[in-house]
């Protein structure tokens, strides 16, 4: 069933990347026979969730867990291998480029590195005008000019600087400009992929405040991809924790921080450095993250989990609601032994 109240609904999303290369690279010689072998990176596996209007939905996880791939698949930058994406109840993952157009102006994306995401050969004004001219054909030049000035003011960049080029701005200001670009077309939903990771500490707070102010003024919904867990705690309403392409816990920010359920979430959140806390008393996880090419059978975390039992090695756990109301994919929690 399609949940009408959701702004973005993702259903069993799967995204795999074939990295086996050309035909000749795929051929291997094995026990006297030539075999063709495909190598597939299983970046996102059967992920489902719904984001409700007005939410700040954060996706966290360590590098390589597939969180950026998930974001890009949600917004249609990558076609999914299977699964469905709905925007306000309408399926968008299989639309043609032309049918996708109206959705593109409602969904915008902000990227991590403001040095790479702004065209160095376009002045700020051109960068900001381009999406409006593209999406709203019947808008007059003076209206566009007003809108540029208005949005620049809102993000805290002096509109007098509209004719400058990206290299004339600092990292924080560039990130403000890329937020401005996203706001130009009046979106409802913004996906921000590590919006503050490339910035200095004192600037991070400025950009987070800006994102929160913009949400209040424009009634935006955010999906924020980040590895900075203390930021997540501060701004998000709900948090999805990913490990090796799978969703292992989905809960409110309070729950994830105060009583994380999944063994991985527990370890992850105990590792956050906190100011003033003297001895590092975090939970250690044994071993290393396996490669997403050969996913472990059963629960993807079982090889590193101290609570793993036979069932964890064989059967993939589904997201189930725990007593606390959090959705957790763990046999141990489901059986009540954790």
């Amino acid at each position: 069933m399609i949940d009408k109240a959701g702004i973005l609904k993702v259903d069993n999303l799967v995204k795999h990347f074939d990295i086996s290369g050309g035909l000749l690279e795929q051929l291997t010689f094995d026990q006297g026979r030539i075999r063709r072998k495909e190598v597939v990176v299983k970046a996102v596996n059967n992920v489902s969730f719904t984001i409700y209007p007005g939410e700040i939905f954060s996706v966290v996880g360590e590098s390589g867990c597939g969180k950026s791939t998930l974001a890009r698949t949600c917004i249609g930058l990558y076609p999914p291998n299977s699964g469905e994406v709905y925007y306000r109840g309408e399926r968008i993952d299989n639309l043609s480029a032309r049918k996708m157009l109206p959705f593109r102006s409602k969904m915008q994306m902000i990227f991590q590195d403001p040095y790479a995401s702004l065209n160095p050969r376009m002045a700020v004004r051109q960068t900001l005008e381009e999406p409006v001219r593209f999406h709203k054909k019947n808008i007059s030049d003076s209206e566009i000019k007003d809108r540029v000035a208005e949005v620049m003011l809102q993000v805290g960049v002096d509109p007098l600087w509209a004719d400058r080029y990206p290299h004339e701005f600092s990292g924080g200001q560039r990130q403000r400009i890329s937020i401005a670009r996203a706001l130009m077309v009046d979106p409802e939903f913004i996906i921000a992929d590590e919006p503050i990771s490339a910035l200095d500490v004192s600037i991070q707070a400025q950009i987070l405040n800006l994102l929160m102010d913009a949400r209040e003024e424009r009634g935006l919904t955010y999906m924020i991809i980040t590895h900075d867990l203390s930021v997540v705690a501060h701004v998000s309403s709900r948090v999805a924790v990913m490990y090796l392409g799978n969703l292992c816990e989905l809960a409110t920010a309070e729950m994830v921080f105060e009583s994380p359920g999944h063994p991985y979430t527990r370890a992850l959140f105990s590792a956050i450095p906190k100011i003033g806390r003297k001895k590092a008393d975090h939970i250690q996880i044994k071993g290393e993250v396996p490669t997403p090419i050969n996913l472990p059978t059963g629960c993807v975390f079982h090889g590193r989990c101290i609570y793993a039992e036979d069932r964890c090695r064989n059967e993939i756990p589904a997201l189930t609601e725990a007593d606390t109301g959090s959705l957790i994919a763990c046999h141990g929690i489901e059986e009540g032994r954790l």
Binding site: E62, S63, S170, G172, D200, V201, S202, I203, Q204, A205, Q206, L208, N209, M212, D213, H227, L229, S230, V231, A233, H234, V235, A253, E254, A267, L268, A271, I272, P273, K274, I275, G276, R277, K278, K279, A280, H282, Q284, I285, E288, V289
Partner: protein, 325 residues
Amino acid sequence: MEQILEVKDLEVKFALRFGDLTAINGISFTLNKGERLGIVGESGAGKSVTGFSIINLISKPGYISSGSILFEGKDLAGMSGDAMRTIRGNRISMIFQDPMMTLNPVLSIGTQMVETLKAHRNISKEDAEAIALEKLRKVHISSPEQRLKQYPHEFSGGMRQRIVIAIAMLSDPSLMIADEPTTALDVTIQAEIMDLLLELCETERMGLILITHDLAVVSQVTEKIAVMYAGKIVEIGSTESIVNNPGHPYTRGLIDALPESMKRGKRLNQITGMMPTLTNIPKGCAFHPRCYNMEDRCKEESPCLVSSDRGNTQVACYKPHMQDD
């Protein structure tokens, strides 16, 4: 306590076409044997340049224009290249942010470790390998005998950083400088590497200078903190007093901007503006345009570090933040 390092009025400049830029503007600090100091600041504050100048790795057009760096009784500033090589990588070692960049991708771990040892002492290959194995065990790398034959690309980021630490430990240095050692790593790995550094400092009585932008990380590992802003130390003192009761408005701002200090969902306390670039550092106190506590004097005169009445800290500010009630 035995003092191993004394940096005194260090000034580092970069000679450019239009004149000299001052990257480090007269900083002083000391480090005792086995002591851990954190240097905190934003990019461009001069914290990495400080680290590099201690081991004399400032390359042209940069140069140490004045001041001294006394390490175990010898002045490293102005020491000849040959003399410096007996200290760098031997008595003082340095580790960096990206372990993939510091390891040679075409040499096995064993070769790189033996090479380092041979550069510093007259030692047979067998003895060098024995030492390498011992150090790999110290950084908790499993089955070190096989690891010696492996190449950097066969390890994960966290393992690589452990290997880099093992190489830095090869000749039992009395000081290690770690420049953003965990910035490229995930939180769970970061916690493990920090545990390891802390453990090594304690068991080997090794001094540590931890350079990072992350106050939270520093506060967990070090005993002393120096906060840098625009080439100067603006506050230095025991970790406890700086974290619990910062005096300089900049330190205060950095701590207040951390999300954990705030109520969930509320706006964060931000420091307005941004750090000046080296070409236009404001007159007077470099922080005054961003300061909430600024008075006329701050625009004209630059404050010196003075001991504050708040305990073990020195603050360079005319109007330091008052004690919290």
